[in-house]
């Protein structure tokens, strides 16, 4: 049976806004380049050789996984943004390519010195081939499936790529300069957003990688200063709703919801389901994507029954009133058995079809 993207679009949209007209809990996997390579059998260079090749492989992958969402994973505030900065600042040599996973930029190599930050050029994404290919692919995905991938932005994820561990020293010793770097990243992210809008159309939601919101990395005050305040500015400028992703082990999900109006949060920690139940009670209008399904646990080491039980646990505790999507965190890696991965959509169908019957 062909994948019904229209149904997926309705399902995810209705779930995010808390509508009762949802047939079942949606499935929101993060299938990164590695998984697309695995399913399509193509290398990353082959995928990114043309928008059509990438779009078709992404659709094939997400359909194979029986997902209710689809993405061109490279188009986010991670390695591709670091690559764009590396290119425009003439430091292409710091990018390393791999066959079956995303390329990476050596952390901290683009902004090695304070002078590098002062002189950092902002990329024009329409002139960066990788971004043009990825957003063209996203456009094709939208045309073929009628399910448009969200625009994906972030601040601290990019700062870490550009400045590396020095960013944490700067936080104490050169806070003004660090803020200047954040400003430049913000400017670049707005360029991504505008390029997305120009190429694909208005993105009503932004998938935001909020890596600053992690308790063992920085205080909440600093997380707001170096990322949260920029999210507020993005919201003001774009009117888009934010889905906040953080795959760290100690996220500030609860705290951030008191400061920023979020549509949804996407994470897998803490692993205690009670945290998530409590979060749901405190923030009933914020959708939860994920909860405590972490890929390095049941998916990596468990049996299909373990995976099913984990999916069931999450649905049982969080899906009754809607606003919940199953989504293992973080990216589905190469080493996880396909049997375990494919247990997720089966378990959702079994336990997550409304009205829920979890006996």
């Amino acid at each position: 049976m062909p994948h019904d993207w229209e149904a997926s679009r309705m399902r995810t949209g209705a779930t995010l806004v808390g509508s009762s007209k949802v047939d079942r809990v949606p499935y929101f996997p993060l299938a990164c380049e590695e998984m697309i390579c695995r399913i399509s059998g193509k290398t990353l260079r082959e995928l990114t050789s043309s928008p059509k090749a990438y779009a078709n492989a992404a659709i094939m992958t997400y359909e194979y996984l029986k997902a209710d969402t689809v993405a061109i994973p490279t188009a986010y505030a991670g390695p591709a943004e670091a690559l764009a900065f590396a290119e425009v600042n003439k430091k292409e040599e710091v990018t390393k390519w791999f066959d079956y996973k995303v390329f990476m930029v050596e952390q901290g190599a683009v902004c090695k010195t304070l002078e590098d930050i002062e002189k950092l050029e902002i990329p024009d994404h329409s002139k960066v081939q990788m971004w043009d290919t990825c957003l063209s692919a996203a456009k094709l995905v939208g045309e073929k499936t009628k399910f448009r991938p969200s625009c994906a932005l972030g601040i601290w994820s990019v700062v870490q790529e550009l400045r590396g561990v020095e960013a944490y020293r700067d936080m104490r010793r050169n806070p003004d300069l660090l803020l200047k770097l954040c400003e430049k990243v913000y400017e670049s992210q707005m360029d991504v957003y505008n390029f997305y809008n120009e190429k694909i159309g208005f993105s009503p939601t932004i998938f935001f990688t909020g890596y600053a919101f992690n308790k063992h990395m920085m205080s909440f005050e600093d997380a707001m200063k170096y990322e949260g305040d920029f999210i507020k500015r993005i919201q003001k400028e774009t009117s888009a709703r934010i889905v906040l992703h953080n795959c760290g082990t100690t996220p500030y999900f609860d705290e951030v919801c008191s400061e920023i109006d979020l549509l949804a949060i996407n994470g897998s920690h803490p692993l205690d389901i009670e945290y998530w139940v409590d979060f749901r009670e405190k923030h009933p209008n914020v959708a939860i994507i994920g909860a405590n399904i972490d890929v390095s646990r049941e998916l990596f080491n468990g049996t299909p029954l373990d995976v099913e039980n984990k999916v069931k646990e999450n649905i049982m505790h969080l899906a009754a009133e809607g606003r919940y999507m199953v989504g293992p965190i973080c990216c589905l890696p190469w080493g996880v058995s396909m049997e375990n991965i494919m247990t997720i959509p089966k378990a959702i169908k079994k336990w997550g079809t409304y009205p829920l019957n979890l006996e």
């Binding site: 050596e106 952390q107 944490y168 020293r169 104490r172 920085m218 760290g248 082990t249 990216c331 890696p333």
Partner: protein, 213 residues
Amino acid sequence: MDESEILGKLRKAIISGIPEDATELVHEALEAGVDSKLILNNAVIQGAETVGLKYEEGEFFLGDMLLAADAINNCIDAIKLKLKDATHLTLGKVLIGTPEGDLHSIGKSLVIALLQGQGFEVIDLGVDVPPEKFLEAAKKENVDIIGISGLLTMTISKMTETVVLLKRKGIKAKIILGGGILSEESCRQIGADGWAKDGWEGVKLIKKLMGVS
């Protein structure tokens, strides 16, 4: 300044994460004839303990830890320069790198700074280290601990491959894995000797595995 005043200021410089002040104060202490062991025990180690405690209590974060570690490293370097035999300052030898395919160095850099600050000798293999390179270095360097620090879920397989290779080839050093992508349970299943979710936990785990208080 008398001895206790210098040591108090040195402790404060470490806790406040001001490496330049720490260097100056440790030189001042040595020039004033303060015994190097006293500097280590009453200022450097006490300062490091306070920093660790503040991190555990959520008062300090990564930036504070890094700068404190820089200050501690400066102190140890300065003390080593004064001593003919500084071997007693070395608690053990640690080999560290990120797994093949992972270029994320922040976690590794933090662990290295903290370990050096605690008196460990660290051999940094860098990022994107293939299993064979870990093996080669482990054989050559005769290390006590091998640490593999990863950020990406996609590198769990490579971490597993590295641990299996090291164990299969009879490497006796304890192998620990770091990063939130793993857990105690997954580390056990992979065959590693321990797991640390962050840099500070890593240092504590290494000290525990080596029986260092």
